[in-house]
C-alpha cells in the first residue's frame, strides 16, 4: 500500500513539528513554506520556554500543557535551549497579594516553585530592583526560535519528509464533493506554478490560518494579535524574570545570548503581513522592563520587533485561553480533507503536532500512536544536509 500523503502548509513551529510527527507515523510528508523556516510569527517569539507559571492562576489547561512540554523539550532538543531557570518577582502590594494564589495554582499544575526572600532573590540575580519584596523560582528557560524549528525540520527530513521553502500556496484544489485534494503553489525561486495532490492538507499557518481556510470556503476564528518585543544589548540576568501578577504588558524579561528581551503587548490587527512598531510601544517596554531590572534603562536598544500571535476567538485579548485548537473542517464547514491547527504557543509545539496528527490519522482511519515524546531530535544543523532549497 502507498503511504498516505500529508501536505502541510506553513514552516513555523506547528508545521515543522507536525511534519516530524507524521513522518514518524509513516506518512509521506510535504511541507510548503512561502519564506524560509520561521519567517512568520515563530521566528519572532520572545524565546521563552514557559514553565506554565504565567497561566497557572487563570488558565490551568495552558499551564499544564506548558510544564509538560517544557520538560519534554529539555529532553529531546537540549542543544537549542538555555536551561537557565526563571523567577517571578513581587515589587508591590498587588504583586504580594497574588503570591499565595500563584503558589497554590502552580502546585495544582505540578509546576515546581520555590519561595525566596528578597535577599535570596537578589543574591541569585543582583541586577533586580533592590526594592523587590519576594520571589518564586520556576523552571522557565530560553530557546533559540529558528534553531528549535530547524531541529524538528531536520529530523522530519531524515525520516523522509520533503520541506519546500520559498514556496507559496496560491490555492486549494477542491473536488466536486467539497473535498480538498491538493494545493496549488508557486515556486518563488523560479516563479513557476505547480499542483500537488495529497490525502490530507494541514493548514499550519498560525495567524494566517484564516487566509488559507477561505481558499476552500472554510472559516477559522483566528485573530492575529501582535505584541512588541524590545531587545537590549546587555544581559543583566541569568534567569527569565517575570512579574508576579495577572499577565499584562511588558512583564517578562527573557535573557538570550548576551541580551535581555522585554515583552510584550497585545492588540488585534486584520493583516499580519506587516505590523509597524510605534515609539510609545517601545517606551512602554523600556519602562515596564526597568521596573524589574533598573539597569535596562541605561542599556542600549539592540532591536525591536513585532510578532502576531494566532489567538482563537476574537475580541478577548489576554483573556483568551492560550491553548490551541485543531479544526476538522468537515465538522466545522462541511469541507473534507482539510485540517487547521492554530492557537497555542511555541512551548507547546510538540503536543500541538501530536493532536493534529491524531486528527489526521483518525480521519484517514489509520491507527498509529504518537512517539515524539521519546525521540531525541537531530542537530538543527542537519537540516541543511541537502542544502536550503528542495525541489519537487
Amino acid at each position: 500500500m502507498n503511504k498516505p500523503h500529508a501536505i502541510i502548509i506553513g514552516g513555523g513551529f506547528t508545521g515543522v513539528a507536525t511534519a516530524h510527527d507524521l513522518a514518524l507515523r509513516g506518512f509521506e510528508v510535504t511541507l510548503l513554506e512561502r519564506g524560509d523556516i520561521c519567517h512568520g510569527t515563530s521566528g519572532r517569539t520572545h524565546g521563552l520556554l514557559h514553565s506554565g507559571g504565567r497561566y497557572a492562576v487563570k488558565d490551568k489547561e495552558s499551564a499544564i500543557e506548558c510544564i509538560d512540554e517544557n520538560m519534554i523539550l529539555r529532553k529531546i532538543v537540549p542543544d537549542v535551549l538555555e536551561q537557565n531557570g526563571g523567577l517571578f518577582i513581587a515589587l508591590n502590594d498587588s504583586d504580594l497579594a497574588y503570591a499565595d494564589d500563584f503558589e497554590i495554582s502552580c502546585e495544582a499544575c505540578h509546576i515546581s516553585v520555590e519561595r525566596l526572600t528578597a535577599e535570596q532573590a537578589l543574591r541569585l540575580e543582583p541586577n533586580l530592583n533592590p526594592k523587590l519584596l519576594m520571589a518564586f523560582t520556576v523552571p522557565d528557560g530560553t530557546f533559540d526560535p529558528l534553531r528549535l524549528a530547524l531541529a524538528f525540520a531536520a529530523t522530519a527530513k531524515s525520516n523522509g519528509a520533503k520541506i519546500m521553502t520559498f514556496t507559496e500556496v496560491t490555492g486549494l484544489i477542491v473536488n466536486g464533493q467539497a473535498q480538498v485534494i491538493g494545493v496549488k503553489y508557486m515556486d518563488r525561486c523560479t516563479n513557476k506554478e505547480y499542483e500537488l495532490r495529497g490525502d490530507m492538507v494541514i493548514n499550519a499557518t498560525g495567524a494566517w490560518a484564516g487566509e488559507i481556510a477561505v481558499m476552500a470556503g472554510a472559516n477559522v476564528p483566528v485573530k492575529p494579535t501582535p505584541g512588541v518585543m524590545v531587545a537590549f544589548d546587555r544581559r543583566l540576568t541569568q534567569r527569565v524574570i517575570n512579574r508576579l501578577n495577572i499577565p499584562g504588558d511588558g512583564d517578562i524579561v527573557v535573557p538570550q545570548r548576551r541580551m535581555n528581551v522585554v515583552g510584550t503587548t497585545s492588540f488585534e490587527v486584520e493583516d499580519p503581513d506587516y505590523v509597524p512598531i510605534t515609539d510609545d510601544q517601545i517606551q512602554a517596554m523600556v519602562n515596564r522592563g526597568s521596573e524589574m531590572i533598573p539597569g535596562l534603562r541605561s542599556a542600549k536598544l539592540r532591536g525591536s520587533y513585532m510578532a502576531s500571535r494566532p489567538l482563537i476567538g476574537a475580541g478577548m485579548g489576554r483573556s483568551t485561553a492560550r491553548t490551541f485548537k485543531c479544526f476538522d473542517h468537515k465538522e466545522t464547514d462541511g469541507v473534507d480533507g482539510l485540517v487547521t491547527i492554530t492557537g497555542g504557543k511555541a512551548t507547546t509545539l510538540r503536543v500541538m503536532a501530536e493532536k493534529t496528527a491524531d486528527v489526521v490519522c483518525e480521519k484517514l482511519g489509520i491507527n498509529c500512536p504518537c512517539i515524539t515524546k521519546e525521540i531525541p531530535l537531530l542537530s538543527y544543523r542537519q537540516y541543511y544536509n541537502n542544502g536550503i532549497k528542495e525541489h519537487v
Binding site: D273, Y305, Y384
Partner: protein, 255 residues
Amino acid sequence: MSSEKWNVTFEVYRQVPGEKPHFDEFKLEVNPDEYVLDGIERIWAFWDRTLCFRHACHHSTCGACGMRVNGIEKLSCITLIRDVTHDGGKMRVEPLRNFPVVRDLAVDMGNFYLQMDAVHHRPVLPVSEASIEKPEETWSPEYDQYTRLSDCIECGLCISACPISGTDPNYLGPAVLAGAQQSGLSRSPQVMGLVDSENGLWRCHSVYECTAVCPSFVDPARRIMDLRKMVLVERVRRLFNRPTRTELRIEETRK
C-alpha cells in the same frame, strides 16, 4: 524612536537562479530609526511579493538575516537605517558573498552549518564556560546546572567579509575555525586534521575583517590566532611522542 520621516531608495539585488542578476529600486518613506530588515519586509509585503530573503528572530539571535548593506556585511534586523544612509539617500542591499545565492537576498548556508558540526562547535554551553559578563560575586557551583546558548549565531557575515574565503571556496573560513577554537581540539580526533590542513587555519592572512563585521563579538580573528597556538602545542606533543590532548581526554574518560 523619532517621528522623523526619510525618503530612502532601496537598491535591491535580484537574481533568479540561472539568470543574470540586476538591481531593483524601491522608494520608501521610512523612519530612520527603523531597521534595514523592516524596509526589506515592507517591500515584500506591499510592493513585490516575489522578493526572497531570509529572516526569523529580528533581534540578532538567529543569524538568518545577514546581508551586505552598502557593501558592508550587516545583520539587517539590528542595523538602523539612520546608520547606513541619509534622507533622500540610497541604500544598496546585496546577499552575502561566498555563499550560493538561492534567490535574491537568500543564500544557502548548508555547507557552513555542516562544517560547524564537523568541528564540534557546541550550540549550548554550561554557564561556567560561556563568555558572558557574569555577576562574579554571586558565582557559585550551582550555576553549573544552567546552560547558555553560544555567542556565535552562525550568520556567516565573517565568511562573506573574509578575503580568503572570497578567493577559495574550500577555505574553512573564520566562523568554523573560531568554532573549533571554542570547542577545543580534544572533542574529536578529526578536528585537528580538519583545521591543520591546507584549507584550514594557516590560510588566514590576519586581515581581521571577520572580527570587524561580527555582530556577536565572537572575535574570530583572535580565536584563529589562538587556535594556531593550540595546534602547534599539539604538534610538538606528537613530535615527542607525548600523549596528545585527545588521547589524554580519552584516557580520562576511561578512568
